[in-house]
Amino acid sequence: MSSPCPATADDRIRLSTRFGEFEADSRNLLSFPSGLPGFEQCRRFVLLSSIEAAPLQVLMSVDGSPASFLTLDPRLVLPEYRCQLSASDKERLGARDGDPLLWLVLLTIDDRGAAFANLRAPIVINPADMVGYQVVPQDSLYPMRHPVALS
């Protein structure tokens, strides 16, 4: 990988966010081999939680571009949410049927502070391999912008 990374010799990474600073190490690094659509150069992310932000989490790139995304469990938005993974998606995640997978959706907050969840293109993470992808479904009935009430 050619992108610069602020890793120190002992493989700990110190990152500054607008939420404050924190440290991560290699066990916290999520590999996104394709990046995210529009952010193809971002191959490694950390998923940040804090009690203040829960149930929102921040998916933050640690490669080059400082891209960060607010994420949420899609089933908190729509309890019946279902997304079918294609054989290709499963292959790329290294996931066999029945493997536990974490689903997240990205939030967009518009100029007026209204929040929308991208239910069409969820993020799927395979904890066993710490690998993630954003699913690009060919046909999904879910909207790209589903209104979310943030309290």
Binding site: N28, S34, G38, S49, L102, I109, G113, A128, Q134, R145
Partner: protein, 105 residues
């Protein structure tokens, strides 16, 4: 850009194991078949681009304007110390929590 003339059923091979077959042509457009290894994602470009655009907007608008300035220094410190990057075991816990949500619904 390479340009080819193809008859119905003829194909183009790209790289290792990717084959693009021209199935038929009509007034509405052409039907194309793509054979690719399972690990190679194949997308309709306009769908991929829509998701790119939505991701760009999601990344730019991380928080509503002014949200961070409403934090007092004390609250900011408390929040700093509470940031936890996920590792495999915390992700597995999160997966279990998700399946509980699913079974409740």
């Amino acid at each position: 850009m390479l340009v080819f003339s193809r008859r119905r059923g003829e194909a183009i091979v790209v790289g290792d194991g990717i084959e693009i077959v021209f199935l038929s042509a009509g007034r509405e457009g052409v039907r194309i078949g793509v054979k690719a290894p399972i690990s190679v994602p194949v997308h309709r470009k306009e769908i991929y681009e829509q998701i790119c655009e939505e991701n760009r907007q999601a990344a730019v608008a991380l928080l509503p304007a002014g949200a961070e300035t409403t934090l007092t220094p004390e609250a900011q410190r408390a929040q700093d110390s509470g940031i936890a990057p996920a590792d495999e075991s915390s992700l597995r816990v999160a997966v279990k929590a998700q399946s509980r949500v699913r079974s409740r619904s």
